[in-house]
């Protein structure tokens, strides 16, 4: 048994470092950027200035449609459409890029709601205090509201990230040789499904545990101002 583990581990860890982890990290970063933009578009009320009001409302409609679309359809179907479907209208994407796009859009849709609810959880009192000091909406967001919202959003965002790491196994279905796909290939040769898939599970668990630890660290750092918060 040890022999099998030792001989297949390098290949699996290799796939993890080459595909699973980069896919998760890159997609999460893009997803997060998309999520913050989408959340702000939905959160900030349109200005009274007509020239700005209608473009903003249009952006809002797009944001709403985007979130609806990606939350209402399965991730696997989204990946299939992007990788197998788009070529028929002339858009041929490399598998890795297709996966990054699919995972980013999916993560962004969910995370935008997390961020929006974190923004909403900062009390109106904080806006009043900032406005009486003559902060603009933007300054209030940057100095007061976003820093507080980050603390609130951290645990659910960590959930999304951990979920994303595990969901990268779906990339195998669009021909990416990520870690789970590699474990399947090895199983096909050595007929040890229990061992190989358990090994894959263990590797996912190790990565996700590291992420949970990172979450704790970030929570402590962002909670130092809260009563009973560490530091």
């Amino acid at each position: 048994m040890w022999h099998i583990i030792v001989s297949s581990l390098p290949e699996m860890i290799g796939a993890m470092l080459q595909f699973t982890i980069p896919l998760a990290i890159i997609s999460f970063i893009f997803g997060l950027i998309l999520a913050v933009l989408t959340a702000l578009i939905k959160f900030i009320e349109p200005s009274e200035n007509k020239a700005l009001r209608y473009p903003w409302l249009a952006l809002r409609a797009i944001a709403n449609f985007y979130v609806w679309l990606f939350r209402s359809t399965p991730l696997l179907v989204q990946l299939f459409i992007i990788f197998f479907g788009l070529p028929s209208i002339g858009i041929q994407l490399p598998a890795f890029l297709a996966a990054v796009i699919g995972f980013s859009l999916n993560t962004g849709a969910y995370a935008s709601e997390t961020i929006r609810s974190a923004l909403l959880s900062v009390p109106q009192d904080q806006w009043d205090a900032a406005y009486t000091l003559n902060f603009t909406t933007r300054q209030t967001l940057m100095k007061v509201v976003l820093p507080q919202a980050v603390r609130i959003a951290l645990p659910p965002l960590s959930n999304s990230f951990i979920g994303l790491v595990k969901d990268t196994s779906l990339a195998s279905s669009i021909t990416i040789l990520e870690m789970f796909q590699v474990s399947q290939q090895i199983t096909a040769k050595n007929y040890q499904p229990l061992l190989m898939y358990s090994l894959a599970a263990l590797l996912y668990a190790i990565v996700c545990s590291l992420l949970s630890w990172l979450q704790h660290y970030l929570e402590r750092r962002t909670s130092k101002y809260v009563k009973g918060g560490q530091n």
């Binding site: 904080q126 003559n134 809260v226």
Partner: protein, 252 residues
């Protein structure tokens, strides 16, 4: 002087301020009194655009804002430069240290240097007896300390008027006294203030002028002495309604 004219404010069709016109003289302390829900906070917040009345004007000698018209960013900035609000629950920024709470607005809004802003903040903290707390977070301090810090935060913007909405209602008597002493001192220094309070003793002590409102209507606007010495029947009822001794008398 702040001159509010014909202020009308409704919430869901219910009139909360009914054609209120009041002047708030500078260098003086004006106290706004009235029963709960009468519109005191709404009136105070209208002066700072935290509430948008449907109509009415708020004017200073050099600027006027007309609520029935769209208000430009510049006008709203200039109006808010004139005043700073101190809130019932102080509303400090929990993510910023005491020092940052006071310096962030001067630095970001007024573009003052960090150094000058910190010097000013430290001096203000000293005046309210809180030197040495610069690096703490608000959650580590008592309500009385937090409220004194929020007064420093307002003063650091050098507004012409400080607006205070029940600044001590959320405090125990001992902590309340700490805050009231500071307000008394500001009053002696000639700081223009408008205070909503339920503390009659304090109102009588510091105010030069009383505005009494009920159900969105202004029922009194004038000298503090007259208000307490020659009250109308309605004011008598109000004053006895909130003082314990007279209430027991009337029950007997």
């Amino acid at each position: 002087m702040i001159s509010a004219k014909h202020i009308n404010k409704q919430y869901d069709g219910k009139t909360v301020l009914n054609d209120i016109s009041v002047d708030f003289p500078d260098g003086k302390t004006t106290v706004i009194l009235g029963p709960s829900g009468s519109g005191k906070s709404t009136l105070l917040r209208s002066l700072d655009m935290l509430v948008r009345p449907e109509s009415g004007t708020v004017s200073f000698p050099d600027i006027e804002v007309d609520y029935s018209k769209p208000i430009s960013k510049k006008d709203s900035f200039n109006l808010r430069r004139k005043t700073s609000m101190v809130f019932q629950n102080w509303n400090l920024f929990p993510n910023l240290t005491v020092l940052e709470n006071i310096t962030t607005a001067p630095i970001t809004v007024l573009k003052r240097s960090k150094n000058d802003s910190e010097l000013l903040a430290k001096q203000l903290l000293k005046e309210v007896g809180l030197e040495g707390l610069e690096d703490r977070y608000p959650s580590q301090l008592s309500g009385g300390q937090q409220q004194r810090i929020s007064i420093c935060r307002a003063l650091a913007m050098h507004p012409e008027y400080i607006l205070l909405d029940e600044p001590t209602s959320a405090l125990d008597p001992e902590l309340e006294t700490q805050v009231l002493r500071i307000l008394e001192k500001l009053c002696e220094q000639g700081q223009s203030m408008i205070i909503v309070t339920h503390n009659m003793e304090f109102a009588r002590l510091v105010s030069d002028k009383i505005v009494f409102i009920e159900d969105g209507n202004k029922l009194y606007d004038g000298d503090t002495k007259d208000f307490f010495n020659h009250p109308t029947q309605r004011i008598k009822d109000f004053l006895s309604g909130i003082s314990l001794d007279e209430e027991t008398d009337s029950i007997k």
